[in-house]
């Protein structure tokens, strides 16, 4: 008991223990949230979901971006990528009759972090509207 008390009050041991506990907790969180699920929704400028839009997932390269995957939105405008293996992916949406969306960069705290976009990706004005 005395040894335990001496160890706990020792600043070197306390610092090492605190670091080990923090690293362990972070690793546990990462292990339980690293399926690489990146989901979101596509909407037009009026906020209506766009079905059948093509969502392109990019990864940063030495110069520019490299495409790694594509998904098509469902009837609710939702899309989902899995196991993308990135920590800083980017998304862009293309749809027939619409202007391409701006590039949406997604920041993740670790590779393959599960993340759902807070706001929908907005694609441009409907080019078919007169």
């Amino acid at each position: 008991m005395k040894l335990l008390r001496t160890l706990v009050l020792n600043r070197f041991f306390a610092a090492a223990a605190a670091l080990a506990i923090t690293v362990g907790a972070i690793n546990l969180y990462v292990a339980s949230n690293d399926e690489g699920i990146l989901s979101g929704q596509v909407a037009d400028v009026q906020g209506k979901p766009v079905a059948g839009a093509e969502v392109i997932l990019f990864m940063p390269a030495l110069i520019g971006l490299d495409e790694i995957d594509r998904q098509t939105t469902d009837e609710t405008g939702a899309f989902e990528f899995r196991a993308h293996g990135q920590h800083h992916p980017a998304l862009q949406v293309q749809a027939d009759g619409f202007e391409d969306s701006d590039l949406r960069r997604v920041r993740l705290y670790f590779r393959n972090q599960n993340r759902s976009l807070d706001t929908p990706i907005v694609i441009g004005a409907d080019t078919n509207e007169g």
Partner: protein
Amino acid sequence: MHRYPKWPIHLALIVVSIVMLTPLYWVFKTSVAGENIFSYPPSIVPKDPHIFFFVDVWYVIPFAQYFLNSVIVVAIVIILNLVFNAMAGYALTKTFRGKGAVMLVLLSCMMIPFQATIIPAYLVTAKLGLLNTYAGLALPELSHIICILIFKASFDSVPKSLVEAARIDGVPEWKIVYRIMLPLSKPAIATNVILSFIWSWNQLLWPLIVVRDVDMQTLPLGLSYFLSYFEDTTGALYAFCVMVLVPTMAIFLLAQREFIQGLTSGATKE
């Protein structure tokens, strides 16, 4: 006796502290905000701080591998520094023929910069077959003359009667160092650990010359190569700097009391 006001001294110290700490604050601020150093006007408070630059550094370069390499080299350096410097410091507490010449040589060698000895150091390391190895990376850092002198000063302050009593009891010299001198010289040990840690952790030139494989690079070497990877890397670059600095600062903050005691031990005669 006239009492001088203390506030001018405190004011001067505060100003100096601000001047000294501003670059460090700037590094931390840029690592969480990513503001370009050439932007004008510069912002004092970080705008939209985040930790994603640290994430970029972790994944863009093999930071964990570089960190492990640095830790292994530093561990070898610290352990062998303690052994060699303690033995040398104890030897210098003795009186022997030529001691003055030895001290003169040691003090003279302190004035020779490491860069002037890098060619013979490389040739010796190559002949020993230690290029691109952890031992080769640690080899030039295995002993520091300043640390030898710190141990000497600390051992000089140990009462001679203790050593004499141990000799009378038949204790061998190495046990005198291990059981009597070192336990009474904890500040010197802490100083040795901190100084050897800082010098070996921040070493760039020697790893640049000795390392051949990317997997064997240490953190400072990885940082120098990181600069050549991307153009706009201000935030990530400063995040990398912070990640390299933090272990050194943590070690110093934990052991600063012993460090200061070790530097000042032997300064006053009892």
